[in-house]
């Protein structure tokens, strides 16, 4: 760590001469960056990136980190829309960087394309696009997202009909990427709200016929930070990279509370 503090890294972690494929177009990538060691406030950094229309936004970030600026910080793991690590705000909406294709962001009519990338909102930013996920997981843990059953353990597997499985099928798809929770205006202003993701994962067990703790979870979500805070803005449904009908799931929990059916 002998390099001067503010000096921009000349190259990325894989060198400074990136391969540029045939047919690549140059797009402008504007990234909201924050380095807690030097910056008081987040700042915008702009890069020109050669890319193919078939590239994902994650490829652009890889290009920047590997060949332009190795200090660029973001999370990603599987890069195929399953692990839920790379949720970020792309052109103002929460998306997984590994699921958004460049061709869907290109400006029409031969105009230059600018892509803005910000960290997801409502969680403390550690560095650049990397946020502290702990408040998100705290809300997740608080709804008891695991099977609870009382009485003797069964001697064989817990059987469930296809119809009973169908009731919570949608909410089993959650990958905990936090795209929904950090798109919620209520969560932005009040972080103690459980948020869509925690409610989705509560829904997954509340409506599971094998689970016996629906009442406990409904009590938790009936309180001041629970489902009644939802304003049905549908940001969460729009943000979910797995296509979960998040707002519908929240409404189903509200209905279960109103009419006491699970």
């Amino acid at each position: 760590m002998s390099a001067p503090a503010e000096e921009k890294t000349a190259s990325g972690s894989r060198g400074s001469e990136p391969p540029v494929p045939d047919g690549a177009i140059t797009v402008t990538v504007k990234i909201r960056r924050f380095n807690p060691e030097f910056d008081d406030e987040p700042r915008w950094d702009t890069f020109e990136v050669p890319a193919l229309p078939s590239d994902r936004v994650l490829n652009l970030l890889h290009y920047l980190k590997w060949y332009v600026d190795g200090t660029l910080t973001f999370r990603r793991s599987c890069a195929h829309g399953i692990c839920g690590s790379d949720a970020m705000r792309i052109n103002g909406v929460n998306r997984l960087a590994c699921k958004v294709l460049l061709k869907d962001l290109l400006a029409g009519g031969g105009k230059a394309t600018t892509i803005t990338i910000e960290p997801i909102k409502g969680l403390p930013v550690h560095k650049d696009l990397l946020v502290d996920m702990e408040p998100f997981f705290e809300a997740y843990r608080a709804v008891k997202p695991y099977l609870i059953s009382y009485g003797n353990e069964p001697t064989r597997e817990r059987i469930q009909s296809a119809a009973d499985r169908e009731r919570f099928d949608d909410t089993t798809k959650c990958i905990l990427c936090a795209a929904c929770t950090t798109s919620c205006p209520v969560y932005w202003t009040e972080g103690s709200y459980f948020g869509p993701a925690a409610i989705v994962n509560a829904h997954r067990f509340i409506f599971d016929s094998r689970d016996e703790a629906a009442e406990e979870r409904l009590d938790i979500l009936n309180d001041v930070d629970g489902v009644w805070r939802c304003r049905t803005t549908f940001n969460c449904t729009d943000a979910c990279p797995r296509g979960i009908q998040v707002t519908k799931a929240i409404q189903e929990v509200k209905r279960a509370l109103l009419f006491k059916r699970t």
Partner: protein
């Protein structure tokens, strides 16, 4: 709380246990029902006051006195006053809950809200029931 528990998940903030209260449920339900009632009450009120029979120009002391001589309009206005105050107040309560950053700010804003609600509801109710059309002097 034992030390072992604190060390169990050191970075995990703890939430207070659920209060097992249906207050938020009823407040949510009240907003829906009172909202529907207010659509009828307020639109009806605006129609009578501003459009029917020459509209706003015919409103004077005698008009108000005539209306409040009937228990029907007394109940209408009373319902409108109470529902609008509680509906609006509850809406502001949720806004304060969402946007107040500090617990003390939240507490005092809510106190201000509740006091203003009580004052306006009491004053309005008092006027509706003690209105005397026979003024002299």
């Amino acid at each position: 709380m034992s030390d072992a528990l604190i060390l169990d998940k050191p970075r995990s903030p703890r939430r207070p246990a659920a209060r097992r209260s249906n207050f938020e449920l009823y407040s949510w339900l009240f907003m829906r029902i009172s909202g529907l009632a207010l659509v009828v009450l307020v639109l009806g009120h605006l129609f009578i006051m501003n459009i029917l029979d020459g509209g706003v120009h015919r409103i004077n002391f005698g008009f108000v006195a005539g209306r409040w001589a009937s228990p029907f309009w007394q109940v209408w206005d009373l319902a409108m006053l109470w529902l609008a105050q509680i509906h609006g107040g509850n809406g502001l309560r949720t806004v304060i809950n969402d946007y107040a950053r500090k617990d003390s700010t939240r507490f005092w804003l809510k106190m201000l809200l509740y006091v203003s609600m009580v004052l306006i509801i009491s004053l309005g109710t008092l006027v509706i029931f003690t209105f005397d059309p026979n003024i002299t002097g």
